[in-house]
């Protein structure tokens, strides 16, 4: 399709999609009296609003045929692969903390995070793998008394504490 603001149309369709999903979720909320001002009111209002906004944005996108910069449906930023790597790293870190405990997870993820930002020296990455978990553990779990997350499969804290 040419001659349309494709970004606006894509955003509009996205909003309609989110609004529709919200409306479906709202309809699943129990109500005891159809006239009652209850738990379903606000979610339904927001769902309707999102769908309306999405429709408006889509119409604006189709009407805006002068917008020549929007020539593709999706334009990826130049550093998209790094963003993708960071996303995978972040989600992996969450999983790793739950699976192997905070210390081991940080020892693995911290050097990878530094590497993503351009650090390549092996000795420094090794130091980061050792120092980062130690420092954060000392500050947050020992100093502030936050209860550390336990790894499901293995946890260095259990080994250190002799469990």
């Amino acid at each position: 399709m040419t001659g349309i603001d494709k970004h606006s149309v894509a955003i509009g369709i996205g909003l309609i999609f989110i609004g529709t999903g919200t409306m479906i979720g709202s309809m699943q909320i129990e109500i005891y009296d159809p006239n009652e001002v209850g738990a379903r009111l606000f979610p339904t209002m927001i769902a309707t609003f999102l769908m309306g906004l999405g429709l408006l944005k889509t119409i604006v996108g189709f009407k805006n045929s002068d917008n020549v910069w929007s020539s593709s449906w999706v334009s990826l930023p130049p550093q998209f692969h790094q963003i993708l790597q960071m996303t995978v790293l972040s989600l992996s870190y969450v999983w790793a903390i739950g699976a192997i405990g905070y210390l081991l997870a940080t020892a693995v993820i911290a050097p990878l995070a530094f590497a993503l930002f351009g650090e390549r020296r092996p000795l420094r990455l090794l130091l980061v793998a050792i120092i980062a978990p130690a420092i954060y553990h000392l500050i947050f779990f020992e100093g502030l008394g936050v209860f550390p997350p336990q790894g499901e499969y293995i946890d260095l804290l259990n080994l250190f504490r002799g469990y």
């Binding site: 209850g38 002068d66 550093q79 960071m86 903390i97 930002f117 947050f140």
Partner: protein, 510 residues
């Protein structure tokens, strides 16, 4: 008066004194690092404050916000990169003056003007807030909902470059806030059967994700460029670094006028420091007798935005403390502090926690003095030090801190997952030109808005007509709608003007 006894208590509490000093210093440093805002630092440190006394926690974050706003000017002047959005106005004259070898002079003007602005804003807050709280106590659910509605609409339509995207950002913030149990009936909403979602999405990890992790993503995208300090075209002398009274005298009326501009804008939810700084700059330029110097290193061109920028800080707390409506992203983050410590904000705060409120104000005043003195004598040194920070170590460290900070709030791995997803979402919002500020502020406002709407409809004999029957409620709703219409019209006019220009790249926003 309460403020004097609060000041007396402050000066006799060494923990508070150290807290205020540390906050002033760290806020200045954080604000001066390009790409790292005080809002992001405050969001990250918020869960840690759970372990401290409420006043210590609030004082630390509040003062950090103030000095962070000032710290942005250091980056703007030294690195030609605004440390905060608001300091982009300071950059217009600050950097050219620095290029002339007058770095010290520029920084001193920025410091003094920031102190004048911040102090003016805080005085207006301290002496005006009691009256606002008394008025707020007389309002009922219909009025509260109307105020929330106006706040939603104003924030969504004023922040950002697109009204539609602003409204969508606000709506998405409301949507995320609705996930979980209905606070009145306990019924699960939009949880899709998930046990974790039944407890709702917590504000703290959401904010850390949006503001901190989202920023890390953005910095990764820009290759984590090293901060480079200015190389002046001229060798600077002692006179270039000094600031005499005769040099600052013409700036004084500009600073005072800009302070009031900033204070007025600060009270309005969603406007923020950036709007205040640019409005004050424009106003200062209009009235200037030396217009030809503005944009080339005029001292008044630094004084105007800096005093307005910092004058926002105090008054933006007024809607937060009296109505529970945060006027800025920092205000939204401070809501989290109150929540963590179980303190109900709103007009009753002045009845239940008066000492806390005035203690906070006293800490703010001392914080202004602290960053003023540190900045006047040490801002250039802070700038030199920041150049030495290895960027490829700074942002990974921030990433790791964000993860453990998000976990610390409720010792919940689900919160860490929320933070990670919010980080991606925050980055995506920035790329698509949605407003993260509107998203977060709307998230914070949702609970109060829904409660007041349902209460208003329950007490109404005429259903939705109650909002038209009550004049204050009707007035606020009309104000919100008028703001929306005016903003939409002005954006459409701008878009039409751009369309008519012979440019190969045209953008159109509605």
């Amino acid at each position: 008066m309460e403020i004097f006894s609060a000041l007396a208590n402050l000066f006799t509490d060494p923990v508070l004194l150290i807290t205020v000093f540390a906050a002033a210093l760290s806020g200045m440093i954080v604000g001066a690092i390009p790409g790292l805002t005080a809002a992001a630092a405050i969001a990250m440190l918020l869960p840690i404050t759970f372990f401290f006394d409420p006043l210590v926690a609030l004082a630390f974050l509040y003062v950090m916000g103030k000095s962070g706003r000032y710290g942005g000017s250091i980056a703007a002047i030294l690195f030609n990169t605004p440390g905060t959005t608001a300091s982009a106005a300071t950059q217009l004259d600050g950097y050219p003056l620095a290029k002339q070898g007058k770095v010290g002079k520029a920084l001193k003007v920025a410091t003094i003007s920031s102190v004048i602005g911040d102090f003016t804003g805080d005085m207006l807050l301290i002496f005006g807030i009691g009256l606002i709280a008394q008025i707020a106590l007389k309002l009922g659910p219909p009025e509260y909902f109307a105020i929330y509605f106006t706040a939603f609409v104003v924030i969504a339509s004023v922040i950002g470059s697109s009204v539609l995207r602003g409204l969508a950002s606000a709506a998405l913030g409301v949507l995320v806030a609705l996930i979980g149990q209905d606070p009145i009936s306990g019924i699960e909403r939009l949880t899709f059967g998930s046990y974790d979602l039944a407890n709702g999405i917590s504000l703290v990890p959401l904010m850390i994700g949006i503001f901190v992790l989202g920023e890390v993503f953005s910095q990764l995208e820009s290759h984590g460029k090293k901060v480079e300090e200015i190389h002046s075209d001229h060798k600077s002398t002692a006179a270039d670094d000094a600031l005499t009274w005769d040099e600052y005298k013409p700036c004084l009326p500009v600073a005072i006028r800009s302070s009031f501009i900033g204070a007025f804008i600060g009270v309005l939810p969603g406007m923020g420091s950036a709007v205040a700084a640019f409005v004050a700059y424009g106003e200062g330029y209009k009235r200037a007798k030396n217009k030809e110097q503005w944009g080339k290193g005029a001292l008044e061109g630094i004084a105007a935005p800096e005093s307005a920028n910092n004058a926002v800080s105090g008054p933006s707390m007024a809607p937060l403390l009296t109505l529970g409506i945060p006027g800025s992203t920092i205000g939204a983050i401070l809501v989290g502090v109150f929540m963590i410590h179980g303190i109900q904000i709103g007009p009753t705060l002045f009845i239940t926690s008066k000492d806390l409120v005035y203690g906070l104000f006293a800490a703010g005043l001392l914080g202004i003095a602290c960053y003023g003195i540190m900045g006047y004598f040490g801002a250039a040194k802070v700038g030199h030090w920041i150049c030495k920070i290895p960027v490829n170590a700074l942002y990974p460290s921030i990433l790791l801190t964000a993860f453990v900070a998000a976990y610390s709030a409720r010792s919940s791995l689900f919160d860490v997952l929320v933070m990670a997803i919010a980080g991606v979402f925050g980055w995506l919002m920035r790329k698509l030109d949605f407003s993260t500020a509107a998203f977060v502020i709307s998230f914070v406002l949702t609970a109060g808005a829904e409660e007041s709407l349902r209460q208003a409809l329950l007490m109404s004999d005429s259903g939705w007509g109650i909002f038209l029957e009550r004049p204050v409620a009707a007035g606020f709703i009309a104000l919100g709608l008028i703001t929306l219409v005016m903003r939409t019209r002005s954006m459409l006019k701008e878009a039409e003007k751009k369309r008519k220009q012979p440019s190969p790249v045209a953008t159109s926003e509605t």
